[in-house]
């Protein structure tokens, strides 16, 4: 970077291009991730009635816990938005704080999800119980895996922010992770309505 600054204007322009390219690339990645989730949703819809005389979601799922997790995830999406606002104001501490809050909320979401899975397994609904549960665990679990990766990634960005402050590079990284975080939120809305709400109703 130091070297870049010593050069003419066009080089900074080059760097700027790099960052916007990466952001564009990430949008495309999210399209592929939409396809990935769409395939899993389709699988779930095809298999949702194939319970092999075993338990169904409505018997075992505790909606209160799910509503709390949903609320937590929605809040974390909101706080990651606040992080972005702080960043645009140039407020590094606010940025780090709100990112950390988002990551912690994400962590509690995962904690609740793991607890839910343990509860379900205890009740006799394992991934090998029936096609329904295979599709359930895979769809919900894939979302959970995405959130978990997001948490690690967010932590890494927080450390980088602490070390380097708000630079074009860290700015782009924060933009991308917040995009990702909102995206997972949107996917969760679909999971919530298709897997949980429709199941209980």
């Amino acid at each position: 970077m130091a070297q870049a600054h010593s050069h003419s204007h066009s080089h900074d322009h080059g760097h700027h291009d790099q960052e916007s390219l990466k952001q564009f690339g990430f949008w495309l990645f999210m399209i592929t991730d939409v396809i990935l989730f769409a395939t899993l949703f389709a699988t779930f819809i095809v298999l949702r009635d194939n319970t092999a005389s075993g338990p169904v979601g409505a018997d075992l799922i505790e909606m209160n816990g799910i509503i709390i997790s949903t609320f937590i995830l929605l809040t974390s999406s909101f706080t990651s938005g606040l992080a972005l606002l702080s960043m645009n104001k140039g407020d590094k501490r606010g940025l780090i704080l709100w990112l950390a809050v988002s990551a912690l909320l994400g962590l509690s979401f995962i904690y609740l999800e793991v607890n839910e899975f343990i509860h379900l397994v205890h009740e006799g609904a394992k991934i090998s119980t029936s096609a329904y549960w295979s599709a359930f665990y895979t769809l919900v679990g894939t979302h959970g895996l995405h959130v978990s990766i997001g948490i690690v990634w967010m932590t890494a960005i927080i450390i980088q922010l602490a070390k380097r402050g708000i630079t074009p590079v860290t700015k782009r990284k924060v933009n991308i992770i917040s995009l990702y975080w909102h995206f997972l939120d949107a996917v969760w809305i679909f999971v919530f309505s298709l897997v949980y709400l429709m199941e209980v109703m």
């Binding site: 970077m1 070297q3 870049a4 050069h7 003419s8 066009s10 080089h11 080059g14 760097h15 390219l21 990466k22 564009f24 690339g25 495309l28 990645f29 399209i31 592929t32 991730d33 396809i35 990935l36 395939t39 899993l40 699988t43 095809v46 298999l47 194939n50 319970t51 092999a52 075993g54 991934i127 090998s128 119980t129 029936s130 096609a131 329904y132 295979s134 599709a135 665990y137 895979t138 690690v152 990634w153 890494a156 960005i157 450390i159 980088q160 380097r164 590079v169 990284k173």
Partner: protein
């Protein structure tokens, strides 16, 4: 102790087959030889810094091509073994289990580990040059894509000597590919080999879409972009939409096998037919992914060697994009015989036929590019011209197969086999060969020997027809694919013998090509001037051959569709350059911003390999180690801010001067 080791080894290594034992020995010897040569000539450091860690799109492209040629050899040997087995009724050359493994690996290798890397190789080498860019959008990701492909290919090929090859067919339909149908580890090698390389392919797809949409030289509007780049865009968009489906499908099959899930099992509510749907939702677009770039290559080659603009540019672009779109709505034509009812079959029959329309238009446009042209016939053009009748026949038999009620008689017969080999060899392979011969001087600075190339061409072509025309007839005689033997009284033998002869003719053609490459490297003169064919049309011919690592000392200013050709025309006519071109060329050199090499992609892919290998054998420690390694290398990449540098002006001047000397 010794007994447990023995027991492990007999399960771990494939034993008891002399053919495989021979392969094991020769692999071991080859490895020793490579290590020895590298050590003796002190080439390890060179290999690491120049190749294994490179992020240069041209070098990555060359590595892709080398791998694909090796894979072509392996897939070709598989094919010859099958043809030998089928030449004589009830022959006891390959046992059923071995035969089943061979047709499975032949299919997987030819599509995923031969055609795909050859395609990505050409994408890599040509697209940035053709766009007037210094590299792809994400050079690091590009390197990662290659190494993921490599790790996946190695994992898949390893099953040949360790654990046993998969043997449930190239698309591995459950329940046969489930844990009950295929209890061995071969199917796990299949899943992880394809999965790991598939992630790389997906990343490449994104990479090239961004490159093409965002990195074109100033002045190159989308509708001035060369046809090959258009075809790469069409193919890459298709990759983006199709490959996530493959990722999910393989993952679900893995869960069935590893955790006892019930996606595709026959019991507990699983639905094997869902697998057929999912795998073909990827599989059908996949064949268009590999054929579209071949269409692009033909457009370039035909225009170049006709010395004429491509005919119907807008039609061509529209045709490419509509083929890519419609490829997502035809998947069920691969199983008309599932009995989904007349409505479903009628719908997919018609969508399949619709694809024939833009494809037909493309053929006419190529023909009319040659019409009123000045045709010369060096090897790339030979392949392009041979492609047209071959692909027309392949397309026509494809239309015949799309007629759903007729397909009830063609399905899974040798008629089908002949059809898809005709479009894949006559279309994809001929196309990529045309591209390889055409752009070879751009990669290495010398052409391939024309005489030997013509021998290879004729052997390939005649071999192709001799091999596959009889298979159409065999299909109508009721011969089903994947039979490892048949009775004499079926009357299938004579045509099978003919077909086997044809296969060996293609084998000879391959030897000619290897000879051609060796001969050309040894004896042919370097020609570093950019426009090796003397009639290039697009930007890749405007820079030296091989291009310097930064591609262009100054980013070119584009004014026309065939920019380099038009520039030569202006020069011949003695016209002045347009103002913006003149300004761009007169601008002083500036330091060039380049990405630094990185060891992370190869190391991360090594960890993916470990994780995959661990999953295959269910060795938990290795799975944990592999996945942890992947995570750590990803974080290492995230924390590394020192990944670029500037090439100083003096160095650019030195390299440009040397290139100018070399060209004279």
């Amino acid at each position: 102790m010794l007994d447990t080791v023995k027991e492990f080894a007999s399960e771990f290594f494939v034993t008891g087959d002399p053919l495989i034992l021979g392969a094991q020995v020769s692999i071991a010897l080859a490895l020793v030889a490579i290590v020895f040569v590298l050590t003796y000539f002190k080439k390890w450091r060179w290999l690491w810094t120049e190749w294994l860690t490179t992020v240069d799109h041209k070098k990555i492209g060359i590595m892709y091509i080398i791998c694909s040629i090796l894979m072509l050899f392996r897939g070709g040997v598989d094919a010859l073994l099958m043809r030998v087995q089928l030449a004589v009724p009830n022959l006891e050359f390959l046992h059923a289990d071995h035969y089943n493994a061979i047709f499975t690996t032949h299919g997987v290798i030819m599509i995923l580990f031969m055609a795909m890397p050859l395609m990505f190789g050409l994408f890599n080498i040509i697209v940035p040059l053709q766009l007037g860019a210094r590299d792809v959008a994400f050079p690091f990701l590009n390197s990662l894509s290659f190494w993921l492909f490599f790790a996946g290919a190695m994992l898949f090929n390893l099953s040949f000597v360790i654990g046993g090859s998969p043997d449930a067919g190239w698309l591995a339909y459950p329940p046969l590919s489930g844990i009950e149908g295929s209890p061995g580890v071969g199917q796990d090698f299949y899943i992880w080999g394809i999965q790991i390389s598939g992630i790389g392919s997906l990343a490449s797809g994104i990479n090239f879409v961004v490159t093409i949409l965002k990195m074109r030289a100033p002045g190159m509007k989308l509708m001035k972009m060369p046809m090959f780049s258009w075809s790469v865009l069409a193919s890459s968009v298709t990759i983006m939409f199709a490959f996530p489906i493959l990722t999910v499908t393989l993952f679900l099959l893995f869960l069935d096998r590893y955790l006892g899930a019930h996606f595709f099992t026959v019991d507990a509510g699983g639905n094997p037919m869902m697998y057929l749907n999912l795998i073909w939702m990827w599989g059908h677009p996949e064949v268009y992914i590999v054929i579209l770039p071949a269409f692009g290559i033909f457009s370039e080659v035909v225009a170049t060697f006709s010395k004429k603009k491509i005919f119907g540019y807008k039609s061509m672009v529209f045709a490419l994009m509509s083929i890519s779109f419609f490829s997502f709505f035809t998947w069920a034509h691969h199983f008309f015989t599932m009995g989904s009812g007349a409505n479903v079959n009628a719908f997919f029959a018609v969508t399949t036929m619709i694809i024939a329309i833009p494809t037909g238009v493309k053929v006419f446009n190529w023909l009319f590019t040659m019409y009123r042209g000045k045709l010369s016939f060096p090897t790339p053009m030979l392949w392009a011209v041979a492609f047209i009748p071959c692909f027309v026949v392949g397309g026509m038999t494809g239309v015949m197969l799309s007629v759903a009620p007729a397909d009830f008689q063609f399905h899974n017969s040798y008629f089908l086999i002949a059809h898809f080999h005709q479009v894949l060899i006559g279309g994809v392979v001929f196309g990529y060969f045309a591209g390889l011969y055409y752009w070879w001087p751009k990669m290495f600075g010398f052409k391939l020997h024309e005489g030997l190339g013509k021998w290879a061409f004729w052997f390939w072509n005649i071999g192709f027809y001799v091999c596959f025309m009889p298979q159409y007839a065999l299909g109508l005689m009721g011969m089903t694919r994947r039979f490892n033997e048949y009775n004499f009284d079926m009357g299938w033998q004579p045509l099978n013998v003919v077909s086997t002869v044809g296969a060996f003719l293609m084998g000879i053609a391959f030897i000619f090509q290897v000879w051609q490459i060796a001969h050309s490297i040894r004896f042919l003169k370097k020609d570093n001037s950019g426009d090796n064919w003397g009639q290039g049309r697009t930007l890749e011919w405007s820079t030296a051959s091989p291009a310097p690592f930064y591609n262009f000392a100054r980013i070119p200013q584009v004014v026309a569709q065939d920019d380099w050709w038009e520039k030569q025309q202006r020069r011949e006519r003695g016209e002045a350059e347009p103002a913006e071109v003149a300004a761009a060329e007169a601008a002083p050199l500036e330091p060039i911003h380049m990405p630094k090499n990185s060891g992370i992609p190869i190391i991360m892919s090594g960890f993916w390999f470990l994780a995959g290998f661990g999953f295959v054998w269910d060795w938990k420690w290795m799975i944990v180690l592999g996945l942890a390694g992947v995570a750590v290398t990803m974080l290492a990449r995230s924390f590394n801010y020192n990944d670029d540098y500037y090439v100083p002006v003096e160095e650019i001047e030195r390299i440009e001067a040397a290139a100018a000397r070399g060209a004279n």
